[in-house]
């Protein structure tokens, strides 16, 4: 039973998050000793995968230099990219494997910790069956690691249950694009964005979550393009929106149906395209009839004439692009929302052409590549379905096993937690995932972790989740192991190894290879370096949808990335999908899909009358395991706060800086208010990057989209009241160095501007 071995306060005092402000050796050494070399690689954070040069001195990353020749970002970076180097020499880095001990964690040898891990996994599987052990992976890992995890689960452990934190990311769009197009990838390269006449951004906080994409949108506007933004909050790109649609959380489908309704009512659809390249249009057209602008306005709160205008702009443009992200996806109808976007693109023929398309803005560093090659519970390498006999046969041959030895589809990330609660899953091996912060209903997650008979974690810092582990295997940062990733635009990129892992930490892939050896599966995992994993991955993906066979590290370096599918060495790669209206289904056609309305899984009512929606800030990445340890990024936004409109705040006597308790059907937390006129008056917002008493995910619920299994982070019901005093977490949970809140001072430096 795995409660924390010692109290949370003692764990964070020992293992952080501590704040690192200065490069290893300090600023003076930085000035006096030039770097040994500059390593051209990519940022470890979001799905844009900006090119960056890391300064390396004495086997430490000590700074960065822009990489202006890399075409995607041309030297541009966000604050996370600028400061990412500070994690490399960070004092919190785990330098040895740790084993749970009565007084906390103790350092252990690799032999002891790997032996212990293998023994416990074997004992649990022998006692309860193969599927009593589950694995978690993550989409910030290189594609080699993601591939290795998928193979490890199915071959070394023989369990059905492997899923990953990308389940919180792109799966709704992935499911929708597969249904409609037969492939899960953004159809257009980012270079298409400036060429559109109209850009429609819905459910995507571009400026904070994909900052470099802002420059593409601004370039579109420079050339006369028009920008439509739909969001319950005015996010930073809204400042230049030509049309702003402030929809109510969870009503995106209604807005999208309304736009389609007007397009069809006014005859703005592209009949020739629909007839030649699609199926299923009539049923979708019929389903749009009910969504007239007035009905849409009642559901969404967006004025009918604004719906009309958006539809006329999109339908009337020669080239339109729709950009969408988690805002659409994090709903119990996330797949429907994405399908509704696709239906508009198909109806207007905005697909497969320069400057015309619908594009999902993938979130995580390897959000695209990490979901293509087998760490999803229902997938095999190459975006193959695990239930497809031909796919199983191909992959089994590459792996050297019989097809029937590959387990069938397992449970998704949240469902794994539920299976732990039910007692069906007893052991868990996790990497690159911090569910204590990132999964909904955080108390439920904690209870699940406490029920595990064995919990092993591979991580470079002791995350809030690793605090519950029986063994923590000290792994590697992105810059410590070579590999590939695939960016949001489908471009496969080469991650360079800049430095060795520090101390006794190991490269992640070595950990799994050595563990396989101890499980007696050595012959299936003969890899000495990532390059050998990639060689096998190319074979495994060959002939699949995400075909990497023609891609090599050398080609990526020479061509500054290769877009998949790339089936052969002489294939140029595929920056834009569906050119000429050819889609990936066997008949070559795209499929319109009917999208049914479904209410939120956590509806507002008289007791919980306010919408709660969650999201991100620009200076933090995901669960903050890395970015909550970097001083300047924490200073920029030290704590979550409650964004609230004065119409809601003033009657409750709430002013900026006041403590407010937010209560949902799960739990209550108390945060400082930020009273702003840039959010709907029926909605409050909290960024989710923090743990414990500051955790937005204590409030969210576990309702999943039935097809994508994504949780509904974007729509919860809550009530708010002014709190009499500061909450307990201010005293007990703030990491060392984070200033305590003081009434009268700005909540964040940027609230008063600058510092």
């Amino acid at each position: 039973m795995a409660e924390r071995p010692i109290p949370y306060e003692e764990l964070i005092a020992l293992y952080g998050p501590h704040l690192n402000y200065t490069p290893t050796g300090g600023w003076d050494e930085q000035r006096e000793k030039p770097p040994d070399r500059l390593v051209k690689t990519h940022c470890c954070f979001c799905g844009q995968q900006c090119g960056i040069q890391l300064k390396v001195r004495d086997n430490q990353v000590v700074g960065f230099e822009p990489w202006e020749e890399f075409p995607f970002n041309q030297g541009m970076l966000c604050p996370k990219g600028v400061k990412r180097y500070l994690q490399n020499g960070h004092p919190d880095r785990l330098l040895d494997p740790l084993l749970r001990a009565p007084d906390g964690f103790r350092k252990a040898t690799w032999d002891e910790s790997l032996g212990f891990t293998a023994r416990r996994l074997t004992e649990i599987q022998e006692k309860y069956g193969k599927d009593a052990v589950a694995m978690y992976g993550g989409a910030s890992l290189t594609t080699e690691k993601a591939y290795l995890l998928g193979k490890f689960a199915r071959v070394a452990l023989g369990t059905r249950h492997i899923d990953y934190n990308g389940r919180l990311c792109m799966v709704s769009a992935g499911t929708a694009y597969k249904l409609a197009f037969g492939v899960d990838r953004s159809p257009n390269p980012w270079s298409d964005i400036p060429k559109a006449e109209v850009i429609f951004v819905i459910g995507a906080n571009i400026a904070e979550c994909a900052p470099i994409t802002t420059s593409y949108i601004w370039r579109c506007r420079d050339q006369g393009g028009r920008l439509i933004v739909a969001d319950p909050r005015m996010t930073p790109i809204t400042r230049n929106a030509d049309l702003y649609l402030p929809l109510r959380p969870g009503t995106d489908l209604a807005l999208l149906m309304g736009i389609l309704h007007v397009i069809l009512r006014d005859g703005l659809e592209n009949r020739a395209f629909i007839d030649a390249h699609t199926t299923g249009f009539e049923a979708v057209a019929k389903s749009a009839e009910a969504w007239d602008p007035l009905t849409v306005a009642r559901e969404t709160g967006v004025p009918p004439d604004a719906v009309e205008k958006a539809a006329r702009w999109i339908g009337g443009a020669g080239r339109a692009i729709i950009l969408h992200a988690r805002g659409l996806e994090h709903q119990s109808k996330g797949v429907e929302n994405c399908l509704a976007v696709i239906n508009i693109a198909l109806a207007t023929g905005n697909i497969g052409r320069e400057g015309a398309g619908c594009m999902m803005v993938t979130g995580q560093g390897n959000g695209q590549g990490g979901r293509e090659h087998g760490q999803k519970c229902d997938q095999l390498p190459g975006q193959r379905s695990i239930s497809d006999p031909a796919a199983r046969e191909h992959v089994a041959r590459v792996w050297g096993i019989a097809p029937e030895e590959i387990p069938q589809a397992g449970l998704s990330a949240v469902e794994i937690m539920e299976a732990i609660h039910r007692g069906e899953i007893k052991g868990l091996l996790s990497i690159c995932f911090n569910p204590m912060v990132s999964l909904p209903d955080a108390n439920y997650v904690r209870e699940a972790l406490e029920k595990l008979e064995f919990f092993g974690v591979v991580d470079f810092f002791l995350s809030e989740t690793a605090q519950f582990a029986d063994v923590v295997l000290a792994g590697s940062l992105q810059e410590e192991e070579e590999g590939v990733v695939c960016s949001a635009e489908g471009r496969v990129l080469h991650i360079q190894k800049a430095v060795d892992p520090p101390g006794n930490a190991w490269q992640d892939s070595r950990i799994y290879v050595e563990l396989a050896k101890r499980l007696g599966k050595e012959r299936f995992f003969p890899y000495r370096e990532p390059r050998e994993i990639f060689a096998e991955l190319r074979e495994a993906s060959r002939g699949g949808v995400a075909d990497y066979y023609g891609i090599t590290y050398e080609r990526i370096d020479a061509e500054l990335g290769v877009f998949w599918p790339c089936p052969s060495a002489d294939h140029p790669g595929t920056p834009r999908l569906f050119e000429g209206g050819r889609f990936f289904h066997p008949d070559g056609k795209a499929r319109f899909q009917v999208t049914d309305w479904r209410p939120s899984g956590d509806p507002v009512d008289a007791t919980f009358p306010i919408f709660l929606t969650t999201g991100r800030v620009v200076s933090q990445y995901l669960s903050g395991t890395q970015t909550r340890r970097i001083g300047a990024l924490v200073d920029q936004f030290p704590r979550p706060r409650l964004e609230i409109h004065p119409r809601l705040a003033e009657p409750a006597g709430i002013a900026t800086g006041d403590w407010v308790t937010i209560t949902t059907r799960r739990d209550a937390i108390t945060l400082e208010a930020s009273v702003v006129r840039t959010i709907r008056p029926d909605t409050v917002f909290i960024a989710y990057h923090w743990p414990g008493g500051q955790s937005a995910n204590r409030l969210t619920h576990r309702t999943l989209d039935p097809r994508s299994k994504i949780p509904e982070f974007k729509v919860s019901a809550c009530r708010i009241e002014k709190a009499a005093r500061a909450p307990e977490w201010v005293r007990t949970e703030l990491p060392p160095g984070v200033p305590k809140p003081r009434k009268g001072l700005p909540i964040v430096a940027s609230d008063q501007g600058g510092r």
């Binding site: 930085q30 604050p79 470099i212 400042r239 969404t300 009273v675 840039t678 008063q752 600058g754």
Partner: protein
């Protein structure tokens, strides 16, 4: 860098502070940024604005300096105060019409943006304008600005009776902008009474 000019377009700014963080990385000022990004009025708007030294033709900071510590180079770049001369009197801080110089009380020295002299002198662009994800800060050729932007570069500013001409350009919108201050203006319920 010959032929390149600095352009600020606040309308493009998304407040991400990449510029602030990148500026702080310079080993000449060791973690302290020489640039600020401010919300204009967070309660009413998401608009932010970056501020760097405008590098005036006749720098007010240098004119008011009693110690003659602030020098302008032939390239038009106004340098930070010279350490041996600066007496930390803050005259420059008070006099600058753009509010740029900062007094570093620990060092007893005024410091400000020198347009990344260490970079531009070796053919690199200033750090802030290189990383800026929205290109609210741009260091490019005038031809490129003319070709790619609708806004107009302006480098003459009127402060009361003082006319200030600067090396750095501010991009102004081609037509008047209407500021939107309240999300309620966009809501349908207002009309419908919902």
């Amino acid at each position: 860098m010959f032929g390149y000019e600095f352009y600020i377009d606040p309308e493009r700014c998304i407040g991400c502070q990449a510029c602030v963080n990148a500026c702080a990385e310079c080993d000449t000022h060791k973690g302290v940024p020489m640039i600020t990004v401010d919300y204009l009025d967070r309660a009413h708007s998401i608009a932010t604005v970056p501020a760097i030294c405008m590098h005036c033709d006749d720098p007010t900071c240098a004119e008011v300096c009693p110690a003659d510590a602030i020098k302008k180079g032939e390239d038009g770049v106004v340098q930070s105060a010279l350490k041996p001369r600066c007496i930390a009197c803050s005259n420059c801080v008070l006099a600058c019409p753009f509010g740029i110089p900062k007094m570093m009380s620990k060092l007893e020295l005024m410091m400000k943006c020198d347009m990344c002299y260490d970079r531009t002198s070796v053919g690199k662009r200033p750090m802030c304008a290189t990383v800026c994800p929205s290109q609210a800060l741009s260091y490019v050729t005038p031809e490129r600005i003319e070709r790619e932007r609708r806004e107009k570069p302006v480098n003459v500013f009127q402060f009361g009776r003082q006319t200030v001409t600067t090396k750095v350009y501010m991009m102004l919108p081609p037509e008047e902008i209407a500021l939107t201050v309240d999300i309620v203006d966009f809501l349908w319920e207002k009309e419908a009474g919902g």
